[in-house]
């Protein structure tokens, strides 16, 4: 118990990165469901958000000069980096003419992404309020965990928060949008943590020492697309310049063996690595969060299907330094998983057990020093595949939780 501070990183479509700071007085669990939250200060009337494309070093330099002018009170959403990355800046009303003159002088291309930010935020607030009027906002018990939900329905999940400097565990689900049992399980994990803290001895001991971060809809654009257009969509939904094909595989976009065999260089491929490591905002947000947190001790990224528990590496055959320990822990975890319904899992390194994959999440997290880096492939083994029936959500979530507890408990007892 006690006051703790948690930083939830929220990611949205290649446009903005939002950070919310929350203070809580409960236990220290932080549940982040990927979201873009409205600003809490209502002074954005007639502010515009400009997307600026610099085409050479001279223009980049001009932009940096602009950013340095404090009196303009520019709010950089996506900062100056290189010519291929657009710059997004919120410009207060009183600075608009100055900024636009500056851009015109240097012949820098820009577009107005948001014409009046306050209007946009008010509309969004109204939408959110309308949604919360429909369903009980804070009642975890009213939510049906045994059905698949859309993002709008999942938004009414309460969360509580934890501290940043404490050792932490990261869990994510839904990085590949078609793997619906994972987002559904993630939702149940959140509920289960909230319900059993204070009652389950092992979980309480873990949370009294460590924080848990849980990102449920890690690929929200993809998830929305699986509901509206294509149930089998895997990747992000970012357009690829020069190609009619959309999206990047967010599990090939990490800076670990990036560019090597085990990912595709074609935008039309399901395993397209992207133009560069961390090009996808969904990935970059997690990378930034992990690096700035600096005290992550375990990192679990959850996928489906195949019924496997995997650890690094995917990009190379060379065994991880901690191969022995990771292997033993995996064996224990899947034994506990099987104890519930007899579900059989295989385990091992990614590259031995399933295939070579470069630019993968847990290869990166492991090389950042997060020893207990694991990937799950949940039910089933191909009969239903991605379209697992809803009546398997709860059994899957519950058995997987046993494996997660094994890993989290071990991390908690084996500090490094």
């Amino acid at each position: 118990m006690g006051v703790c501070v948690c930083v939830c990183v929220c990611v949205c479509v290649c446009v903005c990165v939002c950070v919310l700071m929350c203070v809580c007085v409960n236990g220290c669990v932080c549940v982040c469901v990927c979201a873009c939250v409205r600003a809490c200060v209502r002074v954005f009337t007639r502010h515009q958000v400009l997307r600026i494309s610099a085409k050479d070093e001279l223009q980049l330099s001009a932009l940096r000069d602009l950013e340095a002018l404090d009196h303009l009170q520019l709010d950089i959403w996506i900062g100056v980096r290189d010519v291929s990355t657009p710059v997004d800046i919120r410009v207060p009303a009183f600075s608009l003419s100055t900024v636009k003159s500056h851009l015109d002088y240097y012949e820098i291309q820009y577009s107005i992404m948001i014409r009046d930010l306050q209007v946009a935020l008010d509309e969004e607030a109204e939408e959110m309020d309308a949604a919360t009027r429909d369903v009980e906002p804070r009642n975890t018990d009213a939510f049906d965990y045994s059905r698949y939900h859309t993002i709008e329905e999942a938004r009414n999940q309460p969360f509580s928060t934890g501290g940043t400097s404490r050792p932490a565990i990261w869990l994510d689900t839904g990085i590949h949008s078609r793997e619906w049992v994972t987002q559904a399980s993630g939702t149940w994990f959140a509920k289960n943590i909230v319900d059993t803290y204070g009652k389950d001895q092992v979980l309480t001991a873990i949370l009294d020492k460590m924080d848990i971060f849980l990102e449920i809809v890690t690929n929200p654009d993809g998830f929305a697309y699986t509901h509206s257009k294509n149930r089998m969509w895997r990747k992000t939904r970012k357009p690829n310049p020069g190609s009619s094909c959309v999206g990047v595989d967010p599990n090939r976009n990490w800076d670990a063996g990036f560019g090597g065999a085990g990912a595709s260089s074609s935008p039309c491929s399901e395993t397209y690595r992207g133009p560069s490591a961390n090009s996808e905002s969904e990935v970059k947000a997690i990378v930034d969060f992990v690096k700035s947190h600096g005290n992550m001790k375990a990192f679990v990224s959850i996928h489906a299907y195949s019924q496997m528990l995997l650890f690094p590496y995917g990009f190379t055959k060379s065994p991880a330094r901690d191969h022995g320990e990771l292997n033993e822990l995996a064996k224990k975890a899947i034994t506990n998983l099987a104890s519930l319904y007899g579900t059989r899992y295989r385990y091992g390194s990614i590259i031995n057990t399933i295939y070579q994959a470069s630019g993968g999440t847990i290869d990166w997290t492991y090389d950042q020093g997060i020893k207990y880096s694991y990937t799950f492939e949940l039910r089933d083994t191909g009969r239903y595949g991605f379209i697992l029936p809803a009546n398997q959500i709860l059994p899957t979530a519950k058995e997987t939780w046993l494996a997660l507890m094994t890993i989290m408990d071990h991390s908690s007892r084996n500090s490094y």
Binding site: C12, V33, C36, E124, P158, G262, T271, T316, G382
Partner: protein
């Protein structure tokens, strides 16, 4: 407001504020990532003993020729193992999956749909120009009744540029369950004499649901798809049927019920969803046959009919 931002703002999960907690927004400075140089890792000179979930430890003998190949600092690991294989690793599993596709083409029906349950033993050998041969001991399971059976099998992946489908032989002698015969006869008679030709789509649907009356046609689609998956398989693929997009019955011909199938296959290594059309014919006596198999091009802008 731009559609992009509208979409952005709609992608929201409400973070309900804890009572009494003030909220503030903070912008994190952008973090510039330094590229991490990859260090070449020395290759171990003795076989690596790895326990990956097999009941006994299996050491993977790597012959010296492969060791030399592996010493190149290369991220491409298409070095084919020979000798005893770890039955839980992917090379054995991919070969075993091919066995299951083969068995489905021989023994599958609307009431028998085999799946791989476990690989017990596996070895691989190079056949020179003729390709590579896997010898396996597997347990297969009927996905409908749950009945399991163990058998041995050999899979030859042909070599050379012509390639060609894998060749499979097994010790499996046919279903031990014989009570599917009554169900098969009943289904056959129902759809042979029925005035209305059957049609259906999205089996299962997005939520994993299949109407009870449509289940045999889901299974039949899976079995018929095995004909495609068998001929498309290599050591670098692992196929499952992801979904029956549509099934349309045609008039019975030569005492065979006939169905046009439109299916989505999931190939695990590339993660691609591959669209095939095929004509499935079936009778209890003749079993399942597939013909007129046609690959449909990947459509990047198509929105397949998705009725939820």
């Amino acid at each position: 407001m731009s559609p992009a931002l509208m979409r952005v703002l709609r992608v929201v999960v409400l973070l309900s504020a804890v009572r009494g907690a003030p909220l503030a927004t903070v912008t994190l400075p952008p973090v510039i990532l330094e590229p991490v140089p990859l260090e070449p890792v020395p290759v171990p000179s003795e076989p690596v003993r790895v326990d990956s979930g097999a009941d006994q430890n299996i050491s993977i003998p790597i012959n010296t020729e492969q060791q030399q190949q592996q010493q190149q600092v290369s991220l491409d690991v298409d070095v084919m193992l020979t000798g005893e294989l770890n039955p839980n690793h992917y090379p054995a599993r991919r070969a075993a999956q091919v066995v299951l596709h083969h068995l489905n083409t021989r023994y599958g029906s609307p009431y028998w749909w085999g799946a791989l349950r476990q690989v017990h033993k596996a070895t691989a050998e190079a056949l020179g120009d003729s390709g590579r041969k896997y010898s396996l001991e597997v347990t297969l399971q009927d996905q409908i009744s749950g009945t399991k059976e163990t058998c041995t099998a050999e899979v030859v992946f042909p070599g050379g540029p012509a390639g060609g489908p894998p060749q499979v032989t097994t010790s499996y002698e046919g279903k031990s369950e014989i009570n599917t015969q009554a169900q098969e006869e009943a289904l056959y008679n129902q759809y042979n004499t029925s005035q209305n030709l059957l049609s259906g789509h999205n089996l299962p649907d997005s939520y994993g649901h299949v109407a009870p009356g449509m289940e045999p046609f889901w299974h039949l689609g899976g079995v018929a798809s095995s004909f495609v998956m068998l001929k498309e398989s290599s050591e670098n693929t692992l196929y499952n049927m992801a979904q029956v997009v549509s099934v349309t019955q045609l008039a019975t011909e030569n005492n065979q019920l006939r169905f046009n199938y439109d299916v989505l296959l999931h190939e695990m290594v590339s993660q691609e969803i591959i669209h095939w059309k095929l004509l499935a014919s079936w009778s209890p006596q003749e079993g399942v046959k597939a013909s007129q198999m046609e690959l449909l091009p990947k459509c990047h802008h198509c929105e397949p009919p998705q009725e939820h």
